[in-house]
């Protein structure tokens, strides 16, 4: 048994504590990486400007500085707010993000808990964030906040369906809902009898992947689906009244969830942590790096769309989900099912 400082690391409480600490560190780290690389730098360079350059080399410590600033700010409650619900709302949002990380595998042994319901669990807990958003909007005692929260609830419920249906194709093909099982199904797959790189489901589930990206974009309330926080109409929607570390919680929740959804997309469609021909401990070392690269690739698309398209109107947004995405996802499931039985 591995001993560090006289503590048996294989004990249940020790491994659990270690896992919790790793995830607690991963959420702000993921949020800072995505925020810096895409929000600050990629958007700036795409728009022919530099973005923040002062804090750290090439402005790389800007978000750390911002975070420190937020922590120092006064903790303000609006006078007529419902204090308890107002304070609890960001925690509910962050809790949903935190739970998402439980089922994402980064290596053969690098997973918090390989649940049998894997991806289903992830989609279920991601729907909890709506609750936090509604709580935030209502407790703020501000009509713009409430409108933002209601828009968010309508949007997130509408896009949860295509998100779940897009994943069903992958689950049918892999024959399991466990994310570790889905990675192995892709690793052991073959493309026309050639099994060198396995069979990443992006080739067979291209429609599913595109549906997943669009629905995830809407679940993350990134533009063009940013009606809930439309700054020109609603200031910042449900976040308007939040300052200091409570706002920081929302920010970390948003980007931490974007990181987790990119990881889920990379795992479901791009083969996850698997490196062909690498097994055992080496896979545990290389896995997180490979998964990280794939996360950045998926996140690149999410943020590219964010900076490229103008905001959808509310009716266009709902019609897009119910009249295009959901029927397309159902057809995809039917075709996948037929092919699965046929072959």
């Amino acid at each position: 048994m591995p001993l560090i400082l006289g503590v048996d690391l294989s004990a249940y409480w020790a491994t659990t504590l270690l896992k919790v600490l790793v995830v607690l560190g991963l959420i702000p780290a993921g949020a800072i990486i995505l925020g810096y690389v895409f929000l600050l730098k990629m958007m700036s360079h795409m728009q022919s400007r530099l973005g923040p350059m002062e804090a750290g080399p090439h402005g790389s410590l800007q978000l750390v500085a911002d975070g420190l600033k937020f922590i120092q700010k006064e903790d303000i409650f609006p006078e007529r707010s419902d204090r308890f619900v107002f304070a609890a709302a960001p925690i509910v949002v962050l809790l949903s993000t935190f739970l998402l990380y439980i089922v994402i595998p980064a290596g053969p042994r690098l997973i918090v808990e390989d649940l049998d319901t894997g991806i289903f669990f992830a989609l279920a807990v991601s729907s909890l964030s709506v609750l936090g958003i509604l709580m935030a909007g209502w407790a703020s005692a501000n009509k713009y906040s409430l409108i933002g929260a209601l828009r968010a609830a309508g949007q997130l419920i509408a896009y949860e369906l295509p998100l779940i249906l897009a994943v069903v194709g992958v689950v049918i093909q892999a024959g399991t809902m466990s994310l570790q099982g889905i990675v192995m199904a892709q690793a052991e797959g073959e493309i026309f009898g050639v099994g060198i790189i396995g069979n990443p489901f992006i080739f067979t589930q291209l429609i599913g992947f595109m549906l997943f990206l669009v629905a995830a974009q809407a679940e993350l309330t990134q533009a063009p689906f940013d009606m809930p926080v439309a700054e020109s109409e609603l200031v910042a929607g449900f976040m308007t009244e939040y300052t200091g570390f409570r706002f920081l919680f929302f920010f970390m929740g948003e980007f931490g969830t974007a990181f987790a959804f990119s990881a889920i997309g990379a795992t479901l469609f791009l083969g996850g942590w698997y490196v062909p021909g690498v097994e055992g401990t080496l896979a545990d070392v290389l896995g997180p790096l490979v998964l990280g690269a794939k996360i950045m690739a998926v996140a690149f698309f999410i943020f590219w769309f964010r900076f490229s398209y103008p905001r959808l109107r509310e009716d266009q947004l709902q019609a897009f989900a119910w009249k295009l995405l959901i029927p397309l996802a159902l057809v995809n499931i039917a075709v996948t099912g037929v092919l699965k039985v046929a072959f």
């Binding site: 049998d116 319901t117 279920a124 729907s127 609750l131 209502w138 005692a141 609830a153 419920i157 809902m177």
Partner: protein, 164 residues
């Protein structure tokens, strides 16, 4: 088993308190939020019983969808912050009687069905595959009947909602 019993006690007490607060609180949004605690507690009990799939469905359907729709509906119509005095009516004793009756019936049925059967100490986590098999092979006819029933309710709701 000690740990399970301990955790069950904690969950049960939290659910009990939250359930009482659902009906005694003076704010309609708070009532809905206490209901979240109760329904999440049900999911936690499912996990204790090693019914993982059922627990996830409970979270997805009740907490993630139904209660969000509750809150959505309440907030769209009337949801003042603070206490409202007109939430109570005169039927509390009737409600208490019905609740006690329901408790008695459920407790009686459960005690009659399981008697003193004990849960296996090392219950394996229920696999989602087994759930799928029992729904789509063993109980496929009842499943389809319930689906048609739900579809009928859905169509009915749409017909009532749009009057044109």
């Amino acid at each position: 088993m000690v740990a399970q019993n301990l955790i069950f006690g904690v969950i049960a007490v939290a659910m009990g308190i939250a359930a009482i607060r659902v009906v005694t609180t003076q704010n309609i949004v708070h009532a809905a939020l206490y209901l979240v605690v109760v329904l999440a507690g049900v999911a936690a009990v499912y996990i204790l019983l090693a019914a993982e799939f059922t627990a996830v469905v409970q979270i997805l359907v009740y907490v993630g969808a139904i209660l969000v729709l509750f809150l959505f509906g309440i907030m769209l119509t009337r949801a003042p912050i603070g206490r409202t005095s007109d939430l109570d009516n005169d039927q509390r004793w009737l409600a208490l009687a019905v609740s006690l009756l329901l408790l008695g019936v459920l407790a009686g049925v459960l005690a009659d069905a399981f008697d003193d059967t004990k849960l296996p100490a090392d219950a394996a986590v229920q696999r989602s595959g087994e759930v799928g098999t029992s729904i789509f092979q063993v109980y496929v006819v009842p499943f389809e009947v319930i689906s048609v029933l739900l579809l009928a309710a859905l169509v009915g709701a749409v017909v009532i909602a749009r009057r044109d």
